[in-house]
């Protein structure tokens, strides 16, 4: 817990004197990578943050989007990687709690959680399953208790996370625009700390998270208490409705040091804190400990000293929420910490002043300009390829076994074991549940919000820029599959040690890719987070940008809708979302399949090969294809399902549709639209590439017989590459998932043939079986 020598010099020169001990601790917390973004900030500036729906306000910890009719949606994403790697239950749980309070601090009610989990390869990493199981339980116990549904997320296992855990949590809030907290403060206003007592847990957590994980410092991990969080949520929302809140800030990384300095800096005021007034879990805590503790379930509220404070006291008393008046707002721009008790290390200054620094100095670490250089491992990595798999006789490979292994692999098998432990329906907004491409929440104005969160470290390792764009496009595709138009995104950039120029280059490349695509598609970045120093004993993690995209569906678009009586037919959007695959549906593939096997599940999980051409997004193709899909989804009855094509390629996407519905299929892969890298149609493509390439901008669309002409006409007009490749067939014990190839001289041959029932059992039971050692 210390400053770099150059930072100490800088601080000394800004203060014009030697910093006091408490000041050093406060500044070290705030200038940690975690709180200050000192390495990343200058690169993040290229991300577009403006858009027609974006509401910007000083001091918000979450992005705010106007969703019409006086309502707003808020969104934020955070990770809790280091703590979760040490103590997965508490780390993951407090990760949920922290991001929830960011939503709350804007004055909106948290209405949904998504979590992205990544662990080591369970076959080789003895800790992976323990970390996985306990992180899931931690999220479940916390999210379920506070009554906020966990509606989606992702799960991935990869060698690069060996012994480590990546826990990303995104939260969505909803509220009325006119009830947003408009952060402001007047001299004389009081500063109130609400929530759990400040204790010795999570001391220095942000610095802990700004270092490579070398020691398992459990005292740096916070202890979760979801019941206190729930009370805090209700108390804060009631205080918001009462109008008592002038400004509000969550206590997260850096604890009070961060919350006080950033609030004072953002609002252009000074704040004087009496560290002795903070309600503490134990006696004898030093000023430094009080100021840098990251105890959970705390919020800082600024209110007037009269009726506002009384209202907050009454509300806290109603809900049994502890609080203390810890400070006062001044006009002088100084962050001052006093303590009369002469605690250990504190109170060294005159009149018990332990710290007295311009808030602007504390809140703004000197930004670094770290060197970045293309790492050598990338040389030739995209030239790697492996010969088509040869199995079965006569050169005509059979992929039945490979497809079966993929569908029952940890990265592709059904996630139901995870999400069935999460209450994903509390709040009764969830209309599309986890397991679909994106989850959908109903909003109070008759619109729907679709959310998806996606990462792909395997692609990002092979090509950091294209990989990051791919994650972004995949999240967009998932949202588009529900009929939603993307309106905003959150980026969470997770990398290894940034002082390694090679690692930092992958970070910079990712930011450039995300920023370019965001501008191209006019999707503003409404929030984000950077997590660095994610190092495992065997080196840095693979570049792991995770992108969450929010999309909006208007309830009354398209035709149809209305109806009356006890079982309201619902509007057209709802009808579409309820549609299910049916025996006899036509299977249409939209988008071109290219020879882009780099970082694919097939190469890595089946063939054991790292490298190959990374799937690349063409913005024009992306726009064309997503436009066509939105046209289809907006016409009631035109499609029974649209599914994104990603991990495991087309074969996995079609199989997922079948396994989810318990139906079979019979498709001819020689009809799949295929293209060279430049987009020109390609005739010859090995079967394994057609089946398993993870090219972007592709969708599987199921169209009922009666709508076929209209759907195909619409696709033809859109200019999107597409082809009808087969039908959905019956399920039951005799149901089969059949991929054929009629191309070439062989006439028609079966490429893969799986039993629906058997594969479905294994696909849905895989994760539970893995955890419980079956």
């Amino acid at each position: 817990m210390s400053l770099e020598p150059s930072e100490l010099d800088y601080l000394t020169s800004r203060l014009g004197r030697i910093p006091r001990p408490a000041e050093l601790h406060i500044v070290a917390a705030e200038w940690s990578e975690h709180c200050s973004y000192k390495s990343s900030k200058r690169h993040l500036r290229i991300l577009p943050t403006d858009g027609p729906l974006v509401i910007s306000e000083k001091g918000y910890d979450s992005g705010v989007l106007d969703v019409g009719d006086g309502y707003v949606v808020t969104a934020h994403i955070e990770s809790h990687n280091h703590p979760s790697a040490v103590e997965p239950y508490g780390g993951a749980a407090t990760g949920v709690g922290g991001v929830i309070r960011d939503i709350l601090s804007a004055g909106t009610r948290p209405v949904a959680i998504l979590d992205g989990l990544r662990f080591g390869n369970p076959r080789t990493d003895p800790k992976a399953l323990w970390l996985f199981k306990n992180a899931v339980t931690g999220i479940a116990d916390y999210g379920n208790c506070i009554g906020i549904p966990t509606v989606g997320g992702e799960l991935e296992f990869d060698d690069s996370y060996a012994g480590y855990a990546m826990v990303d949590v995104a939260a969505i809030g909803f509220g009325k625009r006119d009830r947003l907290v408009r952060n402001h403060a007047e001299p004389g206003d009081v500063v109130v700390l609400l929530g759990g007592p400040t204790g010795r847990d999570g001391i220095g957590g942000s610095q802990f998270a700004s270092d490579s994980l070398e020691t398992e410092d459990r005292s740096a991990v916070q202890i979760p208490d979801p019941f206190v969080e729930k009370l805090l949520i209700e108390a804060v929302l009631e205080a918001r409705s009462s109008g008592a809140i002038h400004a509000m800030k969550d206590l997260g990384g850096g604890g009070l040091s961060c919350a006080v300095s950033e609030t004072a800096d953002a609002l252009g005021v000074g704040i004087t804190i009496n560290a002795d007034a903070v309600h503490a879990r134990e006696g004898g805590m030093s000023v430094e400990e009080v100021m840098t503790s990251e105890s959970q379930e705390r919020m800082l509220i600024i209110t007037d000293g009269g009726r506002g404070l009384q209202a907050i006291r009454d509300i806290c008393s109603k809900f049994g929420v502890s609080h203390s008046v810890i400070g006062v707002v001044k006009h002088d721009g100084m962050m001052r910490v006093t303590s009369e008790r002469g605690r250990k290390g504190g109170g060294g200054g005159e009149e018990g002043v332990a710290a007295e620094m311009p808030a602007e100095v504390v809140a703004n670490a000197r930004l670094l300009d770290l060197p970045h250089r293309r790492p050598a491992y990338l040389d030739g990595i995209e030239d790697v390829s492996c010969a088509p798999h040869a199995q079965g006789g006569g050169g005509a490979a059979d992929y039945t076994d490979i497809l079966h292994r993929l569908m029952t692999s940890p990265n592709i098998a059904s996630r139901s074991w995870v999400y069935s432990q999460y209450d994903h329906e509390v709040g009764i907004r969830t209309v599309v549940r986890p397991g679909a491409d994106a989850s959908v929440l109903r909003l109070d104005n008759g619109r729907y919000l679709a959310v998806s969160m996606d990462g792909n470290p395997k692609h990002c390792y092979v090509n950091p820029r294209q990989g990051a764009i791919g994650c972004f496009e995949e999240a967009c595709r998932n949202v588009v599959c529900t009929g939603a138009t993307p309106i905003g995104m959150l980026d969470h950039l997770q990398f290894g040690d940034p002082t390694d120029p090679g690692v930092f280059w992958t970070f910079v490349e990712s930011v450039i890719g995300i920023s370019d695509f965001a501008r191209e598609m006019n999707i503003p970045c409404v929030g984000g987070k950077v997590s660095l120093y994610n190092e495992t004993p065997s080196g840095p993690i693979k570049p792991t940008p995770v992108i969450a995209v929010l999309g909006l569906i208007s309830g009354d678009d398209g035709d149809g809708g209305g109806g009356s009586g006890g079982k309201r037919a619902g509007n057209s959007a709802m009808q579409r979302m309820r549609a299910r695959p049916e025996d006899g549906d036509h299977v249409i593939v939209v988008g071109s399949t290219k020879n882009e096997m780099g970082g694919s599940e097939y190469y890595e999980y089946i063939r054991g090969v790292v490298g190959g051409r990374c799937p690349a997004v063409s913005a024009a193709e992306s726009r064309r294809n997503s436009g066509a899909i939105l046209d289809i989804t907006r016409r009631a009855g035109l499609s029974h399902m649209v599914h994104d094509c990603s991990k495991g390629g087309l074969a996995a996407a079609i199989s997922e549709v079948c396994l989810g519905a318990g139906l079979g299929c019979d498709v001819d892969i020689s009809r799949v639209p295929r293209a060279h890298d430049d987009g020109a149609p390609s005739r010859a493509m090995p079967d394994d590439v057609t089946l398993f390439s993870e090219s972007h901008s592709r969708y599987v669309v199921l169209v009922p017989d009666g709508s076929l002409r209209e759907a195909e006409g619409l696709l033809a007009r859109s200019g999107a590459a597409h082809a009808r490749i087969g039908r959905i067939t019956g399920g039951g014990p005799r149901g089969r998932i059949i991929f054929r190839s009629s191309g070439g001289s062989s006439g028609g041959r079966t490429v893969a043939d799986l039993s629906v029932d058997k594969t479905r059992r294994e696909w849905s039971g895989m994760l539970g079986g893995m955890v419980h050692g079956a």
Binding site: N144, G175, K230, D423, E425, D444, G446, G566, K567, R568
Partner: protein, 251 residues
């Protein structure tokens, strides 16, 4: 009809229940904070789901001793319809208003999934519009939802027709006799683990909201003088959820 929704610290399905009762079925609904009395003239009481007191000690154990529970106990004995859902059911058993206990699920974990109920007793205020044997698609979401009663009690419940709902799949969580919901001697107090408020709208019920709606329609029908409007149901059903905070504040 005036319905009171009791709110304990940690209740988290109170707003959902409020939305369904008021916006979907047009009841006159009021939140009742756990330290306050149940207002005079309340025709029915609902104890909603959630994690009262964070499930500390045992689910529902602390809430069972809340001040409001003496009113609930009195109203229950006077024949007022009382519905406990999920944590509300746990509070009813912990307070002894209903027999038995809710134990940790056989899976030892939290379960959030859709299941089918079978109606056993169609004469309570919450099932009078249903018929015995009727199936109800509905979600469960709990960690301690395994109904347990000793043999004598279970036999007595069965004999006296006090099993209100059973799981169609009796093995879903290990409940005795597949019991999902029971009632008191008078039949006016019903406790159930599944969430009818999550199943009563077209938007939130992926199967068929008709059967679960009858739980609320039954309540409406048990007071013939009461006009229950379905007006709120015609619009976008999500409308109004956010407004609940105002309601909570005003009481």
């Amino acid at each position: 009809m005036k319905v009171g929704i009791v709110v304990f610290p940690g209740s988290n399905c109170d707003r959902d229940m409020h939305h369904v009762l008021r916006d979907v079925f047009g009841f006159d609904v009021q939140y009742v904070w756990h330290t306050k009395p149940v207002p005079a003239g309340t025709d029915a009481v609902v104890l909603p789901g959630g994690f009262s007191y964070g499930d500390r000690l045992r689910a529902g154990a602390i809430a069972a001793h809340s001040p409001v529970m003496s009113d609930v106990r009195r109203l229950a004995s006077e024949g007022t319809p009382v519905l406990g859902v999920c944590n509300g059911f746990q509070v009813l058993t912990e307070s002894g208003i209903l027999p038995g206990a809710l134990l940790v699920n056989e899976s030892l974990g939290f379960m959030c999934q859709w299941t089918d109920l079978v109606v056993e007793n169609a004469s309570t205020p919450f099932t009078s519009m249903m018929h015995a044997g009727q199936r109800v698609p509905i979600p469960i979401a709990n960690g301690e939802g395994r109904y347990y009663a000793d043999e004598d009690t279970a036999r007595d419940l069965q004999r006296s027709g006090r099993v209100v709902f059973r799981y169609a799949d009796g093995r879903v969580n290990g409940s005795v006799d597949g019991i999902a919901g029971i009632c008191n001697d008078g039949g006016n107090v019903v406790g159930m683990m599944p969430h009818p408020e999550r199943a009563a709208e077209y938007e939130t019920n992926p199967v068929d909201c008709g059967p679960a709606r009858m739980i609320f329609e039954s309540l409406a029908s048990c007071m013939p003088a009461q006009q229950v409007s379905h007006a709120g149901y015609a619009g976008a059903a999500g409308r109004g959820i956010e407004e609940k905070e105002e309601e909570a504040r005003s009481q």
